[in-house]
């Protein structure tokens, strides 16, 4: 079963995403900051990361760049899940190495489809 790391500073959102994914049969690890996520990504074997963009400290974009610049984690697919819904946001996210971009508010299907599309 695939392991997904969910990065979300809002706890309720973190809970919602985690639930959706667990219910779809993924193992979920939740963290509330990008820094934590970075450590976890190095420590543990992950299959994908679902991250928010707007977070205190390191943003989701920076997290993407850090992961892509690290040879250990550069293959790790990233799904951005953010309330930033402008075309520029999506474009920039994909540029930073995201495999999929889901805008909030999202449905369970949207999220799960996005995750499944990257976790083969």
């Amino acid at each position: 079963m695939a392991t997904i790391l969910v990065v979300e500073d809002t706890l309720s959102e973190l809970e919602l995403i985690s639930n959706y994914l667990r219910e779809s049969g993924f193992t979920v690890i939740g963290v509330t900051s990008a820094k934590e996520a970075l450590n976890k990504a190095i420590e543990q074997k992950l299959d994908a990361i679902v991250t928010d963009i707007v977070m205190p400290g390191m943003s989701g974009f920076e997290l993407c760049r850090k992961l892509k610049n690290n040879p250990d984690t550069e293959q790790l697919p990233i799904i951005i899940c953010s309330s930033k819904d402008q075309e520029i946001d999506r474009f920039w996210g994909m540029k930073q190495g995201a495999a999929a971009y889901v805008t909030k508010p999202f449905t369970r299907e949207e999220l799960v489809r996005a995750v499944k599309s990257v976790v083969a």
């Binding site: 963009i53 707007v54 974009f61 760049r65 930073q96």
Partner: protein
Amino acid sequence: MLKQLYTRPVYITTSFIVVEQILIGADMATRFKQEPTSRHKYKKASHLNDSTRNTPQMPSSSVQHPLSGLDNHQIPTQQSNQNSVFDQLGLSFWQRLSLKTKATTLAITLSTLPIIVLGATAYYITSKTITNNVTQQQQARAIALADQFDNFISQRYLDIQNLAQSSVLNDPTVRAVVSTQSKELSLEQYIKNNPGYDNIAVIDPAGQVILQTAGEGIANYSNVDYFQQSIQTKRPVVTPPRKSLLTGEYSIYAAAPVINTTTGEVFAVVRSRTPVQYFNEILHAEAKNLAQSGNRFGVEEYFAVNDLGKVVVAPTEHLDYIGEDAQAVFPRVAPRLINNTSVGSLIDRDRVERQQYLVAYTPIQQIESQTALNWSAMVALPTAQVFAARQGLFLPFFLGTTVFTILVGAIAAHLVNRALRPVVNASLAVQKLGEGNLNTRLSVQGKDELAVLGSNINVMANQLQSLLRQQEEVTEQAQLFADVTFRIRRSLNVDDILKTAVKEVRKVLKSDRVVIYQFNSDLSGTIVAEAVAPGWTQALSDTIDDPCFKDRHIQQYKNGRVRAIDNIHQAGLTDCHIKSLERFEVKANLVAPILKDNQLLGLLIAHQCATTRAWQQAEIDLFTQLATQIGFALDQAYLLEQVEKARAVAEEASGDQRQQKESLQQQLIGLLSDVEQAAQGNLTVRAEVTAGEIGTVADFFNSIIESLRQLATNVKTAASQVNFAVAENQGAMHQLADQASQQAEAIAHSLDSLAHMTDSIQAVAASAHQAAEVTRTASLTAQVGGVAMNHTVDSILNLRQTVATTAGKVRQLSESSQQISKVVSLINQIALQTNVLAINASIEANRAGEEGRGFALVAEEIGELASQSSAATKEIEQIVENIQRETVEVAHAMELGTNQVIEGTNLVEDTKKNLRKIFDGSRQIDQLVQSISHATIAQAQTSQQVTQLIKEIALISEQTANSARQVFGSLQETTTVAQQLQVSVGVFKVDDES
């Protein structure tokens, strides 16, 4: 009613054309041309009613006339355009003249020209006749002069002939009787009786003067031509006038032979001299007499010109001309005199006097004395005198002609002036009309074309006046229209526009009520504005729904129809329409549509309530135009309303935009404050990625800063590495440079050593060369020694031979000496016997006594000789003994020499052998030395090459040293740069974590 209204403008229009074309008054033309729209409108209006078009116009007949006249007038102008510019100028000048001037000029010209021509011709002919007369007269005088001259010469001829035949001279008996003195006296007497001669001489055939009158003569005439000629021909001779050698005057010489009456031979020549001056004086005295006795031309001047072109006869006033060239006096006449055979005349200018002369000339005929003269006679008179009569003629002719011309011209001018006065008056009147003085009228008399023209001008003036009045009215209305339009359009508010419109229109039309009727969407209408005179019903806000009106007229109004009803009861309106009008006490009305983009907005309506009203066309036009203007004003007002609305909407939208912009600005300020420090080199800053639009842009900055941070870190590391590496390399490089320098120095030393070596080698080579030379010399010497040795051996051998030969000879010598000893002893025996004999002889001579004494002496002598021979023989014996002894010694010596020669030969052989050995040795040495020399040269070359190589090596090593130094310098620069780089990069703050 309508008909009347419409016809007038038509008439006006056509009249305008007439006016324009007749007057061509620029002022009027432009004024009328400013109204083309109104003119077209009138024309359009006239089309509405066909019957009006065909209505005959009062001035139309008079209209056609000027039009056709205009066409005729234009044709020459066009033709003149086709002509050349020159013609145009001439034509335009002629055209510019007034008719009166032209006519007067023509009349005067036509009447005076024949008189002038006649006068000029008469004068010319008379003058010509006079000239001819004078010329002929003068030519006759010239011929007479020639004749006179001829006569004069002939007279000389006859005189001299007579003189020669006088008995005093030719009769020898008389001559003998008459004394020389009385002869001379008779000659003097002759001169007195025949004036003209100044000298007469009688000359004998030898040329000596026999007789002579007073006056000089030359001593000997034998060489004078006329003298010779007269002797030869025995006939009288007259010379042409020639300059006297004695007096210097032109004189005529006549000579005749004096023939002896009894013998018939010539025994003298008589010769006379006549100065031409004499002839001259006679001639001119005669000429003066002639002038005084009735010649009206004054004193003629006579000239004669000889064959050389010199003047020989001249008037007494001009004696200085004599001897001059005719060319210098009369330059034009002179050439004609040459080879001239006929009489002629010419006017010439005297060069000396600078006066014009009429000159008649003729050749002087052959004189009977056979002398060919080839002379010319000339008669000259100053032209001023000759043609005095002609000039006297000119003034009466001129004055007569002038007076007559002026008289005729004045009459012609007066007549023309009278004939043209009506035309001029008409022209003046038209000019005044043209200047705007329209009250000008012509008084018309008679019924000719001029009278018709006058009356036509009067009619035209009338028309112009009425036209002008109408024009003024139109202008006034236009002004009114402009004013009203201005007031209406002053406001942009619809209500204001409507209110002002009705008020102003009512004021202009002076009608009782003016309303604006606006159509609703269902085509019913509302009165939205009203201006009404006090006392009449107010119709404002009244909605009028008129079905019959609606159906019938809306479309027409849409097409721009304007309806003027003078009386509603007589216009054939429907009852409902009349009723609805009567509600507002309407008696006459005027309706014009208010249109906008072919859409009917409403109607402008004017009501006359008090009475019916005949609407004037001008009023209708003004009304229509005002309605149009109201349409425009409304259109503009509506447009403005729409614009206002659009602006309000836009303002609302811009409020939202402003808010958005402000939020964006806030975000941007946040972003800027986040990344501000990056500008100072702090690359650890991070822009917050917010949820707003700028959030992503902030991350874009973050990514850039990250990249920069990475870059700065890398650069820092690299710089420090470079610094370290360079510091390490620096020592090595320094060493390298030093070593390279040392190497270069060492090489330089080697180079010096090598140079020394090369020098030594070269010295060795030189020495070897010298040795070779020496050896070669030695070898040569040995060779020479060998040869000498051979010679020596040969000499020794010869010597041996010689010695042997000598030994033989010595032996022979010894034998010979022994033979000599035998001979000597023999001789000694002989001497002894002789001595014995001599003693015997002396004894015998003693016995013989005296007779034997002589013999005794001889025998004594012989005895002495025999003793002497014996003594000599003893000496010879002694010498031979010595010779024999010495010969023995020589033989001994010979033997000894022979032995020594043999020894010497042996020694020489030994020496020769030794010399050969030396020669061989020296050759070997030579070969060795040569090989040494070759080897040394090769060595020297090699050493030179080595030197070259070492030099190159030195160069390279120097370059190496330089390069090493450069590298060292570069390394130092690199160090500096790396240090600077480190400093620069140090500005960037990269590690956050520390």
